[in-house]
C-alpha cells in the first residue's frame, strides 16, 4: 500500500470520527426516545426492543401537534411579511439616490448592529398596552420586518445588470413593474434562499417569543418543548417522552433537508460569505 493511500485512509477515519461526534446527539435522542421509561437507568445503551409508544404518547399526552401547527403557520406569515417589506425597501435603497432615502438606509444599518434585547422591555410593555401580549398577532407584528433580509436583498438587487433595467424602462415600466418583472425574477434564487433561512430562524427562535407567549394553546414548538421538559423536572425526568417530542420537532427540518439539502447548504454558505 502506498503512503498516499494510507494518508487518505487516515483522513477518512478522522472525518468519520468527527462526523460520529457531530451526529451522536441525534442518535442518542433517537435511542432514548424508543426506550421504556424504566429502561433508561438500566445501564445499557441500546434498547431491549423498539418501543415506539413514546411517539404515540407525544400525541396523546402533549399538545405537540398544536405547537407544530402554531410554529409553522406563524413562521409562514412572518416570512411573507418580512420578504415583501424587504423587497420593497431593498428596491428603493438600490435605485433611489435621494438624500433622505440614504439617511433611512444608514438608520437601518445602525439598528442592525444593536442587540435586539435592548428593545425587549419597551416592546413588551407596548404589546401589553394594546392587549396583544400572548397572541400570535402581537408576535407577528413585532417580527414584521427583518433588517437582515433588507441588506441581503439589496446586495443581490445591486447585481441586476443595468442594461436589463434600461430595457425595461424603455418599455415604459414603472417602479412596480420593474420590481415584479425585473428584480424579483432576476433574484429568485436569492429570494428562495432567504425564504429557507427565514423559516429556519423563525422556527428556532426562542427568547423573544417565550417572553410573549404564555398560554399553552398559543405556544410554538420551542416554547412548548421547554414547558414539557421543565414540568417534569421535579418528578424524575420522563426522558423518553421528551426525546420523542424533540425528534418530532425536527421533522419540518428533516423534510426541508431531504428536499433541498444542497440548496440550504449552498444558500447558508453564500449568505454569510457574500456580505
Amino acid at each position: 500500500m502506498s503512503l498516499a493511500k494510507v494518508k487518505t485512509g487516515i483522513r477518512y477515519a478522522m472525518l468519520a470520527l468527527i462526523s460520529a461526534l457531530m451526529v451522536f446527539p441525534f442518535i442518542w435522542m433517537f435511542l432514548i426516545s424508543i426506550k421504556p421509561k424504566n429502561e433508561i437507568y438500566s445501564g445499557s445503551i441500546l434498547p431491549s426492543a423498539f418501543h415506539f409508544e413514546n411517539y404515540l404518547r407525544v400525541f396523546t399526552d402533549t399538545k405537540m401537534l398544536l405547537y407544530l401547527w402554531n410554529s409553522i403557520y406563524v413562521s409562514l406569515i412572518i416570512i411573507a411579511f418580512q420578504i415583501i417589506t424587504a423587497i420593497f425597501a431593498a428596491y428603493v435603497f438600490t435605485v433611489m439616490r435621494k438624500k433622505w432615502v440614504q439617511f433611512c438606509f444608514v438608520l437601518i444599518l445602525a439598528t442592525y448592529m444593536l442587540p435586539s434585547a435592548v428593545t425587549y422591555i419597551p416592546s413588551f410593555i407596548l404589546l401589553s398596552k394594546v392587549n396583544l401580549l400572548d397572541t400570535h398577532t402581537g408576535y407577528i407584528l413585532s417580527e414584521f420586518i427583518s433588517i437582515f433580509a433588507i441588506f441581503f436583498l439589496r446586495q443581490s438587487f445591486m447585481q441586476v445588470p443595468k442594461d436589463v433595467i434600461d430595457a425595461a424602462k424603455l418599455d415604459g415600466a414603472g417602479h412596480l413593474r420593474l420590481i415584479f418583472t425585473v428584480y424579483i425574477p432576476y433574484c429568485k434564487n436569492a429570494i428562495a434562499s432567504l425564504v429557507l433561512i427565514t423559516f429556519i430562524y423563525s422556527y428556532n427562535n426562542y427568547m423573544w417569543p417565550s417572553l410573549l407567549i404564555k398560554s399553552e394553546e398559543n405556544m410554538f414548538v420551542t416554547i412548548g418543548l421547554r414547558r414539557l421538559f421543565m414540568s417534569q423536572a421535579g418528578y424524575g425526568m420522563d426522558f423518553p417522552l421528551a426525546m420523542a417530542a424533540c425528534a418530532i420537532s425536527l421533522l419540518p427540518m428533516l423534510i426541508l433537508l431531504a428536499m433541498a439539502s444542497k440548496r440550504i447548504i449552498h444558500s447558508m454558505a453564500n449568505l454569510y460569505v457574500n456580505k
Binding site: P25, S142, Y206
Partner: protein, 295 residues
C-alpha cells in the same frame, strides 16, 4: 423643467410608499424601544407601579458595584473566550481534511451542519439527557471505567463546561460549512504555482491559505463572539444560570432582572451596558476589516 420636478416628486412619493411598511415597524419596534430603554435606565420604575422617579445614574452605579454583576461579566468573558476560537480551529481542521477528499464531501458537510440548524432548545434538551447523572451516557462511560460519576450540571465548573461544550458543538457545524466552501473556492492555479515554488505544509498554510480565507475567519470570529455574548437559550434549558449563578451571562441576568424580578430600571441599565459592549465589538470588526482588506 416642470416635468422634472413632477418626476422628482413622484419618485419621492413612490419611495415613501414602498418604504413605509418597513419604516413604521422600524420605528415602533426598534427605534422607539431603544430610546425608551435608555430613558427607563435612569428611573426606578418596576413595571407594575404607575409612577416612577428619576434616579440619575443610580442603576448604573449599583450595577458596577454589584458583585453579582462582576460575576456575570466574568462568566460571559469565560464563556465567550472558550466558545469562539475552538470551533474555528476545529472547523479549519475538518475543512482542510474535506478539501483533500472527493467522496462523501457533501455528506460530511451536511451531517456537521445539522447541528447549526437544529433549534438550540432541542439541542440543549438532548445534551441534558446525555449529561444526566444517572441515565446519561457520559456518566455511564465514567462508571464503566471504574470512576466516580460526576454531577455535571450540579457543579459550578462542570456546569460551565457543559454549556461551553454544547455551544461549541453547535458552532462547529457553521464553521465547517463556511470554511469548507471558502477553501473550495480558492484558486487552484495559485495553489499549484505555490507548490512548485516549494511552499508546502505549514508554510503554504501561513503564506497562501490563511490570508486567502481571512475574511471568513474574521467573520466567524466576530459572529461567534456576538452570538456568545447573546447566549440565552442553551443556558436557560441546561442550567437556568445556576448553580448559584455560575453560568449566568449578561443576557441571562438581563432576563432575570427584567422578566422575573420586574426590576425594569436596573434591567434597562444592564441592557444599555450590553449595547455598548456589542457596539465596541462591531467597531472592532469594522476597524479590523478596514485594515486587513483595504484594496
Amino acid at each position: 423643467m416642470l416635468t422634472r420636478i413632477n418626476k422628482n416628486g413622484k419618485d419621492n412619493l413612490w419611495s415613501l410608499a414602498l418604504l413605509l411598511p418597513t419604516l413604521i415597524p422600524l420605528v415602533v419596534f426598534w427605534i422607539y424601544p431603544m430610546i425608551k430603554t435608555f430613558h427607563i435606565s435612569f428611573t426606578d420604575w418596576n413595571y407594575i407601579s404607575p409612577d416612577y422617579n428619576f434616579v440619575e445614574l443610580e442603576n448604573y452605579k449599583n450595577l458596577i458595584t454589584d458583585s453579582f454583576f462582576a460575576k456575570v461579566l466574568k462568566n460571559t468573558l469565560v464563556f465567550t473566550f472558550f466558545t469562539v476560537v475552538p470551533p474555528i480551529l476545529l472547523g479549519l481542521y475538518v475543512a482542510a481534511l474535506l478539501n483533500k477528499i472527493k467522496a462523501f464531501r457533501h455528506f460530511f458537510v451536511a451531517t456537521a451542519f445539522s447541528s447549526w440548524i437544529t433549534p438550540t432548545v432541542v439541542v440543549s434538551m438532548v445534551w441534558v439527557s446525555i449529561f444526566d447523572n444517572d441515565s446519561g451516557i457520559i456518566n455511564m462511560i465514567i462508571k464503566g471505567i471504574g470512576l466516580e460519576p460526576v454531577k455535571w450540571l450540579g457543579g459550578q465548573t462542570t456546569a460551565m463546561i457543559v454549556v461551553i461544550i454544547v455551544t461549541i458543538w453547535q458552532y462547529v457545524g457553521l464553521a465547517i460549512l463556511l470554511l469548507t466552501s471558502s477553501l473550495a473556492k480558492l484558486d487552484p492555479e495559485v495553489e499549484k504555482a505555490n507548490a512548485l515554488d516549494g511552499g508546502r505544509g505549514l508554510r503554504k498554510l501561513m503564506k497562501i491559505t490563511l490570508p486567502a480565507i481571512s475574511p471568513i475567519l474574521v467573520f466567524l470570529f466576530i459572529f461567534f463572539t456576538l452570538n456568545s455574548l447573546k447566549a440565552y437559550d442553551q443556558i436557560y434549558i441546561l442550567t437556568q444560570g445556576g448553580p448559584s449563578g455560575a453560568t449566568s451571562t449578561i443576557l441571562y441576568y438581563f432576563y432575570v432582572l427584567a422578566f422575573e424580578f420586574y426590576e425594569t430600571g436596573p434591567a434597562s441599565a444592564l441592557a444599555m451596558i450590553f449595547l455598548v459592549i456589542c457596539l465596541l465589538i462591531s467597531a472592532l470588526n469594522f476597524a479590523v476589516s478596514k485594515i486587513m482588506f483595504k484594496k
